[in-house]
Symmetry: D2
Subunit: 149 residues, 4 copies
């Protein structure tokens, strides 16, 4: 049973905020799923995003997982709130190789101020998916600080 969004226009709001997150288009990430409390983002492999062994840099995988968590949190927040990342923790389980990575961010608990999220990143290669990274992160709803989402 999906959680109930506090804002009925959550999907348009998430899509609009994603559009304004310029780093997403810079790295070539696209928003491929928006549900209440669950976001999916895809990132095609690009050689200019790699670390020294030719895999996607852990920080780039983290960037996409952070955005997936942040927008999953935002999808359940009240209309007047903006979302900020307080902290994140990621484990890297296998090399981020393949044609693309697919990241799903999911809300574990949406509180009034604090939202706890998890994300999983899978590498896609020849139609098969391999778990390459996982995240546990904390997001915060902020109001009255001059930022909006």
């Amino acid at each position: 049973m999906p959680p109930e969004p506090r804002d009925p226009t959550y999907e348009a709001r998430v899509r609009s905020s994603f559009e304004r997150q310029k780093v997403m288009s810079t790295i070539g990430a696209t928003l491929t799923g928006v549900e209440p409390g669950s976001i999916r983002i895809s990132l095609p492999y690009r050689e200019d995003l790699t670390q020294q062994h030719g895999y996607l840099h852990a920080g780039i995988v983290t960037t996409v997982m952070d955005s997936a968590c942040g927008f999953a949190a935002l999808s359940l927040m009240a209309p007047e709130a903006a979302v900020l990342a307080i902290e994140l923790k990621a484990n890297f389980i296998a090399p981020a190789a393949g044609e693309s990575i697919v990241v799903t961010g999911t809300v574990l608990k949406s509180g009034r101020t604090i939202t706890v999220c998890t994300a999983q990143a899978h590498a896609v290669s020849d139609g098969r998916q391999t778990l390459v990274a996982t995240m546990l992160a904390t997001m915060m709803a902020v109001t009255g600080r001059g930022i909006t989402d």
Copy 2:
């Protein structure tokens, strides 16, 4: 007292590995300090790396902190080892605004297999530095897996 590097050519090795980390040049990060167990990387502000409120995306700050930790770990590793990020945890303390961020990665403990590192990211604005993020991360020395540094 700086730690003793296991590889006397550590500096050339770190600089060469940094050059091969293509995402660093993609985002405009430069290696500005290499000491045994301590690495400094600078990243000028760029609008195409921002999140939806106009600050550098937390994932980009994390990318630079991860690289600073990884190369700090590498600087103390044996010649035959390559470095992999096992996991990282970052707290975001203030918006990553200003002209640039300066990141320092430091080794807390360099073991044969596991290295524990910390990083701090400061935003630079009008000559003043503000702590914007901090990291605690775990790196691993790997050998015999067909990757080198």
Copy 3:
């Protein structure tokens, strides 16, 4: 499909190691489930384990989650390996109130050296379970260091 244990005597080994973990009996925790890659531990509420608001201390909940992760990792390790916690990260989602907490630790990836685990702690009250904490942790298989499991 449960993962394949490297050690056919994994259950006896986990139970024996749990018995030697003296802090478990000190706080009253009992091992209530042992499967390959999955461990369950229960901890009845005790007032002498609380923080200042009368709930179980976050560190005690963490202690049980850490053990659940460690033994889940051990259940898939080779016979000669001992398990060490490299690091852990826990989020506290709701107060650890109620009659007891039930903790499940699960292996996400069991590598030769590194094992990544997750744990969930639920508080049990009047037969209902509430998620109170979650963990993402890294365990290490060590051999030849004079410790066994």
Copy 4:
């Protein structure tokens, strides 16, 4: 330069809250230092707090680090606030052996709602100190929820 406490009675408040944290006396931990934004707690080694290899359990070390962070955060909070742990991350660097561990918790940033803290645990043996664990944690100031500190 130590940070300025929002509550001039911070020391009495921290000491009183520590006294009410019953798990501290259960494990034998004592409060040995209270400064604005910095707390010191000592824990003598006790065999009934060990893991299976005879060292203090990582969760017990974490419990003390969590309390040190929590009270460091509380020492800078407004009089009406209570402190809650949102999340913590700890790395275990060396076995927690020796006669005791000494833990220092320090505030990195004290915001109105969120406080970021770090802690270090040193094992003391024959007068020498060894870093055994480090923490990066997030605390929250809560008001109006019926809990006080």
